[in-house]
Symmetry: C2
DNA sequence: CGTCTATTTGAATGTACTCAAAAGCGGTGG
DNA sequence: CCACCGCTTTTGAGTACATTCAAATAGACG
């Protein structure tokens, strides 16, 4: 199992000794997803939380007209899941699928509870992870309220230049909340400047 | 000090004994805000986290054209603050002010660190608070991507009927991401149905 | 190579905004 | 307690940003 990255991720926030590290790793399970393969479908119960070792996932909904809306992308070193479904064991709101061949590490609800109980430091760890996620989501809400589509696009490519390289324009537009057609028009306009 | 509500808020997630309760309360400070008074201004350092005992606050930005954009409202039983500024002691992104005369309980960074150290259960408590906040922010992002202004308005008054009563249309429109003029038009249209 | 999906381009349309003016409402001071 | 002032809400007309529809082109994958 490829645990280097997740241990580095954890050590950024808390320190684990050898025993704790081994115990943590023993609770994880590897999973590989092919491009376009689903990790979760709307309506399923989300039974695990996921850490991305390699690849790229998207979390999204599909509206009544069949349009996809991406609430987040996930790449290496990120945690993803449908938190509400996971916590309440209710049907998932979101679809999660792979935009590239992807390798993840999973932890089940039972094992996560064991982890919190045996190594309470992980309460702190996930608190810190959630703080960061909360802050960046709040920024995104603020931008959706304050910015035009053009400003949101410029901000996105500035903030995530490496990510944008890996995504099709269709995916980017579904994240920004505009149509692919309009994004294409924006790009043409911007390239003329 | 009026600690009933905050103790009920805490007890929803963790159990405290007498000593822990007393210690927790000893770290808090009461503050009263008059309507229109600021709790935090953009550029200030946010030195405390806040629990609302009574009243109503809004967290917002002001764009280059002078328009306000509300990222969240806070009422009784909610925690509010500028988390990024609080954690990094950097200048605040947001303004926070009172829409009604408001009573809050504050905890400083130093005291919160003491609390985490002495009563590690609070790591868990704030993790759970953040999980809920994360989920509802993600829902809001998804709605901003998926819904028209009319749908967002209808959802808002359905989800927060009691809150909407307390807010002017101007505040609601700044939360929904539309102009007060357009909200007025929507309401007229909806009342005709 | 062929098929399927993504992207580009143009024209018509719709959603939401700007500007402007009037009406309503609430707070404050005389 | 009333009158006035300032801010919010309403209403209408014109405008801009973003979408829809449609068709052509480009690109990716088996």
């Amino acid at each position: 199992m490829d645990t280097d990255l997740i241990l580095k991720n954890v050590s950024r926030h808390i320190h684990l000794d050898k025993t704790e590290t081994d115990f943590f790793i023993s609770l994880l399970q590897t999973k590989n997803l092919k491009r376009k393969e689903f990790l979760l479908k709307q309506g399923d119960i989300c039974k695990t939380e996921h850490f991305i070792v390699k690849g790229c996932l998207r979390t999204y909904t599909v509206d009544n007209n069949g349009f996809e809306h991406i609430v987040m992308f996930g790449i290496e070193d990120w945690w993803v899941g449908d938190l509400y479904s996971f916590l309440t064991q209710s049907p998932a709101t979101y679809f999660i699928d792979a935009l590239e061949d992807t390798e993840i590490l999973q932890i089940s609800e039972v094992n996560l509870d064991k982890l919190y109980e045996s190594v309470p430091k992980f309460e702190r760890f996930f608190r810190l992870i959630l703080q960061n996620a909360f802050i960046s989501q709040q920024q995104r809400i603020n931008q959706n309220l304050s910015f035009t589509a053009e400003q949101r696009y410029l901000y996105f490519i500035k903030k995530y230049p490496q990510l944008e390289q890996r995504l099709s324009q269709k995916q980017v537009s579904a994240y920004l909340g505009i149509t692919p057609v309009f994004l294409s028009m924006l790009r043409r306009k911007l390239s003329k400047k």
